[in-house]
Amino acid sequence: MLVKRVEVNREDLLDPTNEAWRRTRGSKTVLSPIPLAMQPAEYVRVSWEDRPYGVVTSMRVTAFHNGQEIFFRLVWDDATVDKQIADIDQFVDAAAVLFPVVPDAPLIGMGAEGKPVNAWLWRADWEQPKNVVAEGMGTTKRREDPALVSKAKHQRGRWVVVISRSLNGKDSPAGTVRLEPGATSKVAFAIWQGSNQERAGIKAFSPAWQELEIEA
């Protein structure tokens, strides 16, 4: 995936419907459910055995940067808008953009001890995305990150979400990914369908790292 350099200001790029985004349809990313065998709790494996999950099967992703900040625009079909918990048996729609913090951090299993991954987690009921670091499933630590911002819009049966952060992440918590023009990294994505009570490892994810090339 190429992160194209564009001369567009931050405000415009943060707007999911801005014309800057209309020049490309983005690349299709196929998603699949995290296998049951990888769910860390027996309860989760048993209770989702006969229940479909990871029901969002694909998304389109476009990535831009303007020299200072990087922007991911995620688009996926979702007929149901779940952006608040009106009752306690409800869950909200969410999406994540995941990076390796060290080059050989494994995607499967959300990193490993000593090999962390970093996710930028958007949730439909949050004002601001959260910065998540994990060294294996169930080890995620969520932190506030002033450099992370998002804007989202649900229109015509689909979510359109822009997640952005400074490229170098200098204002972000320690241990999060550093990016720069001309460099390469890797990226993966995940979607949680709130109306299907998806949360934690019950989600759809892109099952392999994609190369992320940041245009100089």
Partner: protein
């Protein structure tokens, strides 16, 4: 999941023959622990009339726990409506709206203005209070208080993918680490006793903490200390001097609720006795208990027969003028013996340690 080895286990015994259903335990817990935003609908302690649907609605059919092979079982995630929402009342209209003589006070669902029929509550905690079962003159009911069972094999703890739930080594209290909890609510599904609530304001799950901060100052849990009926015995299960040891281990009259759930709960119940039935001629039928044994077995398992037999035998002893150590224990002549060694006066609590 292998059982975690712990050093000691604190346990409760609730004597169902003495419970008045007054909910003083419920209120003592509410005022101490669940009066913050997002906790309005929470009742970590609740007393239900049985037979009844329980709190949340149809609790005994909610799944969770483990099967006979120790495999986790799927459970349902109740809604706030199932637990019973925190109702609002038309105070403004009745007290300040000039309609004191014409409007009557009535509850409405939270956030509604109470105008339409579906905004009237159709459920609440202990909604079916005192309904019970059976036909006159053989109708019956009893009260069943429940809290977190602080299980030896907690289904909630197994279910949490974040390992946010832990069981303390020194006393077996099961706690949710609010820093680690992400509000996924698998624990609520997995708990077969449905004693975990979700706080939508803080996006975490919360439950009975056994008043651990009081225990650390030698003070019994609020629900134990405040019970006017002397229903609640409390102490270490391995302390041979404790009431809980004597009732659970020595006399075997205190037994777990739903042992088939496989979580090995640490709240034990002295099962309810009931007067005999009247037969069709209106005569007393000594052979058949008012509360069907099948029903009691469905709640307490097969051990309930033996527990009731011991109770009857010891009651018979006292009727014939003999002394029964068991009856003395259950009568609880010396109140503080019920929760030794946690006999410190709550009036002397350092409150800064009890509530943050």
């Amino acid at each position: 999941m292998p059982e975690q080895q712990i050093e000691r286990q604190l346990a409760f015994v609730f004597d169902l023959n003495k419970c008045l259903g007054c909910q003083t335990c419920t209120i003592s817990c509410k005022t101490l622990w669940t009066d913050q935003p997002g906790m309005e609908y929470m009742w970590w302690n609740i007393v239900n009339t049985m037979p009844g649907r329980g709190t949340p609605r149809d609790r005994d059919q909610s799944g969770g726990g483990f099967d006979a092979q120790g495999k986790a079982q799927a459970g349902i995630l109740p809604s706030a409506r199932d637990f019973g929402e925190a109702w609002e009342f038309n105070y403004d209209e009745v007290f300040y709206g000039g309609k004191g003589q014409s409007a009557y006070l009535h509850p409405r669902r939270p956030g509604s203005n109470g105008d339409s029929a579906d905004e009237a509550p159709d459920w609440g905690p202990n909604w079916d209070e005192d309904q019970g079962a059976g036909e006159y003159p053989n109708s019956y009911y009893f009260y069943l208080p429940t809290i977190c069972m602080h299980c030896t094999n907690p289904a909630c703890m197994e279910a949490c993918p974040r390992e946010a739930i832990f069981k303390r080594q020194e006393d077996g209290i099961v706690l949710i680490d609010e820093e680690r909890c992400s509000g996924y609510r698998f624990c609520m599904e997995a708990c077969p006793y449905k004693r975990i609530y979700f706080n939508p304001k803080r996006f975490i799950s919360q439950k009975c903490v056994m008043c651990f901060a009081r225990l650390e100052q030698g003070v019994a849990p609020a629900c134990v200390r405040q019970c006017p009926g002397r229903v609640r015995h409390f102490g270490y299960l391995d302390d041979q001097e404790s009431d809980v040891y004597k009732l659970v281990k020595t006399w075997k009259v205190a037994i777990p609720l739903h042992p088939e759930f496989g979580t090995q709960p640490n709240v034990y119940y002295v099962p309810p006795l009931a007067p005999p039935r009247f037969d069709e001629n209106g005569d007393i039928d000594e052979e058949n208990p008012r509360i069907p044994m099948e029903y009691l077995r469905s709640l307490f398992g097969p051990e309930v027969d033996g527990a009731l037999a011991v109770l009857k035998q010891e009651m018979e002893k006292t009727r014939s003028g003999e002394r029964s150590e068991l009856m003395d224990l259950l009568i609880a002549y010396r109140w503080q013996d019920m929760f030794t060694p946690f006999v410190e006066d709550p009036g002397k609590l350092d409150r800064s340690q009890v509530r943050s």
